[in-house]
Symmetry: C2
Subunit: 320 residues, 2 copies
């Protein structure tokens, strides 16, 4: 099985000038620029967990690369190469072609070469390793947030979680297609990430949910983060499909948005506005970095919300 | 689940001076020496396919890294870093500890730093990306075999396939432990691969079986390969457990040995002998590179064997 499928994949793969040897040997040979650090990450998508059983092959391929390019974007890295490890229950050529087509669609857009990987038999899973570059010492990390930084997010939050809830309820309404697109076809914020490297103090991509991911920045930076839930950017599609309580859970605890959350010193906010204009990406200030630990959320009336296992419920305490 | 498990894994991980940032961010930051090419490969092991359901956690971890270091060895590369993507049916901390212990045992031996990866929920699978270095232009490739080269293999062949057959038959006889060790705990030929970079014209690691893997060299190098089956190195343990016909199938078509097969110009054979002595690795000449295509095998009487789907049967033709 493996060899034929690898030939099918290789036929669709693209290369770059810095690939000395791509698919077809025991390993790829790659040329990292001498004045750059290598940035490396690996994420796996499993059927029934990270995508539904009836997801389209091309969407699975796109998303498997997208979630990894999102990690590179969160480091401020320029993507370059990817490895694709594909586990299939059977050697279904049409499925593989579709998956690789979706993968390569994003690879072309992001100028990423597919340089290797493997195919194995087993329950459907797609594991991708993405490799990129960053100027030494310039990577965006989780541990760089400073007291007084403003907290920003890109794009709109909660759409992917909304898309998932609708999809799993059997909804296929074209009116929800914006939400389904956010779920199945996330667009990594690569250009934004690269520009943020000179502006932001810390960054992360929103894969597990806003609060969980900002919690990683807070923990690694030894700071607290305070958010205004009313400031969290909300799409018209999300408003059209869910009430405020449902939206709030999706926006705070839903994952899979693959937007960037980052902290910026006040002196850099002007520069950040220029980046938002240049890239035509909505960047919204949603909170600030404070002394302490953890992430706290206040509502429009200034009252703190409290977390619960099922999401984030209004707790009715007065703000202090 | 993911975050706790990542902390467990990170607690066991080792680092290196060339790791600017390891586990715990969106991606790792790594320093490739400026005068080296990066060598990258990725292989996944799935339960019930690449290891039995009752394999020990530490063996699974060891093997998942070993098969990837074997790919780096087949390129003549020096291993440096690895990413580990772990899919688990449930967050079983003891299993993860055991798996990571086996992984790190080999990582220490090979001076490899575990720098990232992810954990996800799904049927047990272990996907590893290994990264290493090679001098530019010095990598061992599949496409470098030349007419007149001698074909060599390291170690003994067929043991892993024999171990698998016994294991799957329910045999747990301590007398077969050498074979089980070859199956569950393969030792990648890293030191040999690095030294071969200056001696061999082409190399591959034996993961799919000797004939299939040499077939890749033949195809990519546009040459034929002729083998003497009687020359294929055979362990005492294999002889003790299987008759000649069974051994032949295992040695020619069985995979998972993770030895190196390589072609060497006659002028370098003296140097090769010195390497074998220095590393105390058996290196056996089993055939030669000829004009034509494909891989042919002759028996001790000089008759050609013919392939069949189930393995390699004696065909009874006279040699020409």
């Amino acid at each position: 099985m493996e060899f034929d499928l690898i030939n099918r994949i290789a036929a669709q793969a693209r290369t770059r000038n810095d690939v000395a040897l791509g698919i077809g040997d025991d390993a790829a040979l790659l040329r990292v620029p001498s004045n750059r650090e290598l940035v490396a990450c690996c994420d796996t998508l499993n059927v029934g967990v990270h995508f539904p059983h009836d997801a389209q092959a091309s969407d699975i391929g796109w998303k498997a690369l997208a979630v990894n390019l999102s990690d590179l974007a969160a480091m401020g890295a320029t993507p370059a190469w990817a490895l694709l490890s594909l586990t299939l229950p059977e050697p279904d050529a049409a499925f593989v072609d579709g998956l690789v087509e979706g993968f390569m669609q994003l690879a072309r857009k992001a100028d990423v070469a597919l340089v290797g990987g493997d195919t194995t038999r087993g329950p459907l899973a797609v594991s991708v390793t993405a490799l990129g570059f960053v100027e030494p010492g310039r990577a965006l990390r989780r541990d760089g947030a400073k007291l007084g930084d403003a907290v920003f997010v890109s794009g709109m939050l909660g759409d992917a979680a909304a898309g998932l809830r609708l999809w799993c309820s059997g909804v296929r309404d074209p009116a929800a297609r914006v939400l389904f697109a956010r779920l199945h076809h996330p667009v990594p914020r690569s250009a934004l990430g690269m520009q943020l490297a000179s502006v932001a103090n810390a960054a992360i991509d929103i894969s597990d949910g806003l609060l969980a991911d900002l919690g990683h920045i807070a923990e690694r930076s030894s700071v607290g983060i305070e958010l205004d839930v009313a400031a969290v950017p909300t799409s018209a599609a999300l408003i059209a499909h869910f009430d405020e309580a449902a939206r709030r859970t999706m926006q705070l605890a839903g994952g899979d948005d693959y937007e960037l959350a980052f902290t910026v010193p006040p002196a850099h906010i002007g520069e950040l506005r220029a980046i938002a204009d240049e890239l035509q990406v909505p960047l919204t200030r949603i909170g600030e970095v404070v002394a302490g630990s953890g992430v706290r959320v206040r509502d429009a009336d200034g009252r703190w919300l409290e977390s619960s296992i099922s999401g984030w419920d209004h707790f009715g305490k007065s703000s202090t």
